[in-house]
């Protein structure tokens, strides 16, 4: 599906939880003539969303479904409004990305009342929402955090640091996936007590804010041994921090004395930075793999198969060494 060539399907090792092998022919039949509404975040604000919406639409349409995408700028009120509008289209299925569990409950109740199945992606659901939803496709953010930590440690060791002060910059701290990522990160870092994260800041996914706070914390830490490593949950926040470092006269890289930068979910900015040597690595949480997994789940739901409530995708660790394998997947 979705135009991805076979070799990518094999390299994109999205370990799909406990997927039973639904064949391509079966899916085409299940999707044929079906109407699917996608309530998603907008590509205009967020390239990940844009790539995902495109890949998903493409995948579903290839199977013969009619797809309607309703995009919003991560606004809960508008997303709920769109969900209601999606319901009124009376589709066979709604693909939805929840902003959080609780705000999804009323929507899912309405969908249940209308008898329309809902496939949620990216957001781990809890409580009633988790029960109401038909299926979820999510990434293991904990594993992403572990990959991030391994990348960072690799970089720090390559640069020869015996010990190091680290700065962490998260997207939105309160989101569950951020918490999962930090938990995974810390579980690995517990084994490296010589590398201490002295500060975790919240950038709210605003790269300018990330750059500003990074440069101010670099300055403040200067008197106390400086910062040797920066980690961020997404590539473009890491790129902002690396840029701020350059402006402060630091050198992002893996040579001795360099600032080691690592990030979680890959994107063009990260690919670019890894090539340039200013970032040591990233992890895959790619829109295309997500779209493929969602397409498959949708297909199986519509085919009437028994689908697991939660499909967890496992990310790959990306470094300069294996970057070429992931360039396609990570460029969006």
């Amino acid at each position: 599906a979705c135009g991805s060539s076979d070799d990518e399907a094999s390299t994109g090792t999205a370990a799909q939880g406990s997927t039973s092998s639904g064949s391509a022919e079966a899916s085409a039949a299940a999707l044929e003539g079906k109407r699917i509404a996608v309530v998603s975040c907008a590509g205009a604000q967020n390239p990940w969303c844009g790539a995902f919406n495109e890949d998903l639409t493409h995948g579903l349409e290839e199977g013969g479904a009619r797809v309607t995408v309703l995009e919003d700028p991560q606004d809960p009120a508008v997303r709920a409004q769109h969900f209601n509008q999606a319901l009124s289209l009376r589709p066979d299925l709604i693909v939805f990305t929840a902003l959080d569990s609780d705000s999804s409950v009323p929507l899912f109740r309405r969908a249940e009342a209308a008898g329309i199945p809902v496939v949620n992606y990216n957001q781990r659901l809890e409580g009633e929402a988790a029960e109401l939803v038909t299926a979820s496709v999510i990434w293991s953010d904990e594993e992403l955090g572990q990959a991030l930590a391994r990348n960072l440690v690799g970089g720090l060791e390559a640069a020869g640091y015996r010990e190091a002060n680290l700065l962490g910059i998260t997207g939105t701290a309160s989101l569950p996936q951020t918490r999962d990522l930090v938990r995974g990160f810390e579980s690995v870092m517990a084994r490296y007590p010589q590398y201490r994260t002295i500060s975790i800041e919240d950038s709210n996914y605003d790269p300018n804010r990330a750059a500003e706070l990074a440069s101010q914390i670099f300055a403040q830490a200067r008197a106390r041994g400086g910062i040797q490593g920066v980690w961020a949950n997404v590539d473009y926040i890491a790129a902002a921090a690396a840029g701020a470092a350059e402006q402060a006269g630091l050198r992002p890289g893996t040579r001795s004395g360099d600032l080691v930068v690592a990030a979680g979910a890959c994107a063009s900015a990260g690919v670019n930075a890894i090539r340039a040597g200013t970032q040591v690595g990233t992890g895959t949480k790619t829109p295309r793999q997500t779209a493929e997994a969602v397409t498959e789940t949708v297909d199986r739901v519509l085919a009437g198969e028994d689908v697991e409530k939660v499909t967890v995708l496992a990310p790959d660790q990306v470094t300069a060494d294996n970057l070429d394998e992931f360039v396609e997947l990570c460029s969006y």
Binding site: Y205, Q216, A244
Partner: protein, 335 residues
């Protein structure tokens, strides 16, 4: 009917010489004292917090503050011109930064000079059109710029294929725009030069002085046959160029460009302009004041961050600063 039982006003209580209508010279002078007092107290407070904040008084931190102030400040220069000219404010300058940055990165394949020129021209033209509409037909600037922001966002993401743009050329070609020069970050030079040039234009060029006159009274300017349209286009397109410079330098530092580059530049630039003391209705203020406003906001934000206050508190403090500045400016205004 008895006048006592019918207390409708016979006398225009505030029609003339009333407190709100026209502050007397006494009120103005006491307000000036008040203003000095508040500014003095504010600076003392700032100094106190600065002294007690670990790591504030370092060269590195000064550079960090200067860089932050410069990026917002450049956008604020444009905001100041728009405000001085009596158009109020632009709510699309942040979006202009982002879209120009995307144009810059997208054009880098053609060479850095073409990319720079292309991005700056794009910004000057798009904001210039807004200036034309506002200057020529007296359209409401807030509404026009909200509309322009939406259009820029729509066309920007359409042209960029809803993506994050990364340069296709070697970093060394353009990275000087983000790196320090002689130890000082490049944006600081850009801001300093732009502030000097624009302030000089305001004081010494025909268009700059006309802008102040138009900002003082559009109706009088029209009756005096001053060029309303040209003046507004002048203010808006310089604003566009300044905003674009910020976007370009951010993109050159972060090595990619997307709409997220707009960040909070729109509102932060208005905040810097107002904190500097420019009159929102136009005619009074200067770029120098805005420079100070941008630095004050950056310093206060820095202190809040270093002391570990949340981003919410930082925003709150910024808002209160704006509020105090606005009140002080009003109290000392002649009208």
């Amino acid at each position: 009917m008895d006048a006592r039982r019918n207390p409708g006003l016979l006398v225009p209580a505030l029609a003339d010489g009333g407190a709100a209508a026209a502050p007397s010279r006494w009120r103005v002078s006491s307000a000036v004292t008040l203003q000095r007092g508040v500014i003095g107290a504010g600076l003392a407070l700032l100094l106190f917090f600065a002294l007690t904040t670990d790591g504030f008084f370092t060269v590195a931190n000064a550079k960090a503050i200067a860089t932050a102030a410069s990026l917002v400040g450049l956008v604020a220069i444009g905001q100041t011109l728009i405000m001085l000219g009596g158009s109020g404010m632009s709510l699309s300058l942040g979006m202009t930064s982002a879209v120009s940055a995307m144009a810059f990165v997208g054009l880098l394949g053609e060479g850095v000079v073409i990319a720079l020129l292309g991005a700056l021209v794009l910004a000057a033209v798009t904001t210039g059109i807004q200036g034309f509409v506002v200057g020529r037909w007296a359209a409401n600037a807030v509404i026009v710029t909200i509309a322009a922001g939406l259009l820029l966002e729509g066309f920007g993401s359409w042209a960029a294929g809803h993506g994050d743009l990364t340069p296709t050329v070697d970093r060394d070609v353009y990275a000087f725009l983000g790196r320090p020069l002689l130890g000082i970050p490049f944006p600081v030079y850009a801001f300093a030069v732009a502030a000097l040039v624009v302030q000089w234009m305001l004081r010494r060029t025909r268009d700059g002085r006309t802008l102040l006159l138009v900002g003082s009274s559009r109706e009088a300017a029209r009756a005096a046959a001053l060029p309303l349209t040209r003046t507004a286009v002048f203010a808006f397109s310089i604003a566009g160029v300044c905003a674009a410079l910020t976007g370009i330098m951010v993109a050159a530092t972060q090595h990619h460009a997307s709409l997220s580059i707009q960040g909070n530049y729109t509102f932060d630039s208005i905040a810097a302009t107002l904190v500097g003391g420019t009159l929102i209705s136009g005619g009074r203020g200067s770029v120098t004041r805005t420079l100070i406003g941008a630095l004050v906001i950056a310093a206060v934000t820095d202190i809040a961050l270093l002391r570990g206050y949340s981003s919410g508190v930082q925003t709150l403090v910024k808002g209160l600063l704006v509020l105090v500045a606005v009140i002080l400016v009003r109290l000392t205004a002649r009208r």
